[in-house]
């Protein structure tokens, strides 16, 4: 009897372990990437001081960075706790947007989302829509983030300059006429040895905040925090502040990232109108009941 119990226990343990492994294998993965599920019970080394350098991937798998229904911490799902603090202008602008995801979604063929046409999605949408593998590089003057999604990059200046009150300020060059940017103007600093905070302003208001059509104005101010609790992890928090569209700042996403090997080669993910066209023909138009003939 005890022998039977032991056998059964061993079998149960084996089945549980096998099913956990099977579940882990089912999770979509970037080829060659390591996730937290692969290193259970690990004891990571301490974080290096003032260093964000490396290739970072969502720690729970690539899907963790995909925020199809809007900013990860505040998805457009109709739940009262995810209702954004819109101003009247913010709500009006939100309702004018026709996203393909979220509670106000329309069929793809009827959307007015600028992104499917490969217009720049800009920042912060790149991190509030589809945060994929990203490489962070530090130089004495700046932190550069290279995003896999749409193969874009941003520079966060750490040389002591301030955010431009006016983009014609000498440290920011002398554009004529003064220009807003799809990716904004960004500066950052270390607030302690393991926490880097960046602020960005000067955005072009033609982009959307997220996939669900949340709007922003030219008054958008984004605060990014990168906290490195240990060598292998980075905690990214993005806060949106836009007094024209929202009555108060709100946290849009909190995402835990995992450090990858220095040899990790980031895949290509580029917006191509020719592929959008094929997608529309194959899927979007039939789904919207549009006869292409």
């Amino acid at each position: 009897m005890p022998k039977g119990l032991v056998t059964m226990a061993v079998a149960l343990v084996a089945v549980s372990v096998f099913s956990v492994l099977a579940r882990a294998q089912d999770v979509p993965r970037q080829p060659g990437a390591v996730y937290d599920m692969d290193r259970k019970g690990e004891n990571p080394a301490p974080a290096p001081k003032r260093d964000l350098t490396g290739v970072w991937e969502p720690a729970q798998g690539p899907s963790a960075g995909v925020q199809a229904t809007g900013a990860g911490a505040m998805p457009s799902d109709g739940k009262p706790e995810h209702e954004l603090p819109f101003t009247p202008l913010g709500r009006e602008t939100f309702l004018a947007h026709k996203p393909t995801f979220g509670v106000t979604q329309v069929p793809s063929a009827l959307t007015n989302d600028p992104m499917p046409g490969c217009n720049p999605q800009g920042f912060p949408r790149v991190v509030l829509h589809n945060f994929r593998t990203s490489r962070i590089v530090q130089t004495p003057e700046n932190v550069v983030i290279l995003y896999e999604f749409n193969k874009k990059w941003r520079v966060i200046w750490t040389d002591g300059r301030r955010l431009p009150k006016n983009p014609t300020e000498p440290t920011w060059g002398d554009p004529d006429p003064p220009e807003s940017r799809w990716w904004g103007y960004s500066v950052g600093k270390w607030v302690d040895d393991y926490t880097f905070v960046a602020e960005s302003t000067g955005f072009d208001d033609r982009t959307w905040l997220d996939n669900a059509g949340r709007p922003h104005s030219d008054a958008l101010h984004v605060i990014e925090q990168y906290h490195r609790p240990d060598r292998d992890h980075l905690e990214m928090t993005i806060t949106v502040d836009d007094a024209k569209m929202f009555t108060k700042p709100w946290v849009a996403v909190k995402l835990r990232l995992r450090l990858q090997a220095p040899s990790f080669d980031i895949r290509e993910m580029e917006c191509a109108p020719i592929e959008t066209e094929e997608y529309n023909k194959e899927f979007a138009e039939p789904a919207a009941g549009i006869d292409a003939r």
């Binding site: 989302d113 046409g117 490969c118 217009n119 590089v137 990059w153 799809w182 020719i274």
Partner: protein
């Protein structure tokens, strides 16, 4: 008299130099930061080259226009000159002729082109270097990102 003539000559030379310098400045589109850098770069003594290091922000040394290769790759533009004729295979020539570019000796009118760039398709590499090499932003180690058209500004179609 001689002193007076020399003074006059010196003044004329100064005026000519100032004028040509002003013309050069006016003719050459420049980024504001580059103007400052160029002043530094004009210093007579150049520092030694760091070993195995290409990190930094790089700009065409003769001004941003120098990286623009509207008529095709700078060393072999599509200008009809025999010395710029590429060594096509039959397939290469056939493929080239099926491309309807907006620039070069075979340029077609807008509306008849089939250049994917003009529809905001990814320009890819090496065309990013062969078409519009502008300011290359940072970086370090093995990472280099250039700033081709379409990255900082939009050439994309409106939806």
């Amino acid at each position: 008299m001689v002193v007076k003539m020399l003074k006059l000559a010196a003044i004329s030379v100064s005026i000519l130099m100032a004028a040509s310098s002003a013309v050069a400045r006016a003719d050459r589109p420049q980024h504001a930061r580059v103007t400052k850098d160029q002043k530094t770069a004009s210093a007579p003594a150049l520092a030694p080259v760091p070993i195995h290091d290409i990190s930094g922000t790089w700009e065409p040394a003769n001004g941003p226009s120098d990286g623009i290769q509207a008529n095709g790759v700078k060393a072999m533009p599509n200008d009809g000159k025999p010395e710029h004729q590429l060594p096509y295979t039959p397939l290469g020539l056939q493929t080239f002729k099926s491309h309807k570019a907006l620039e070069g000796v075979d340029a077609v009118l807008p509306g008849f082109y089939n250049d994917p760039r003009d529809k905001c398709e990814p320009i890819g590499f090496p065309r990013t270097d062969f078409y519009n090499l502008s300011g290359g932003q940072p970086v370090a180690e093995n990472v280099l990102q250039s700033d081709p058209a379409g990255k900082g500004s939009s050439l994309c179609p409106k939806v």
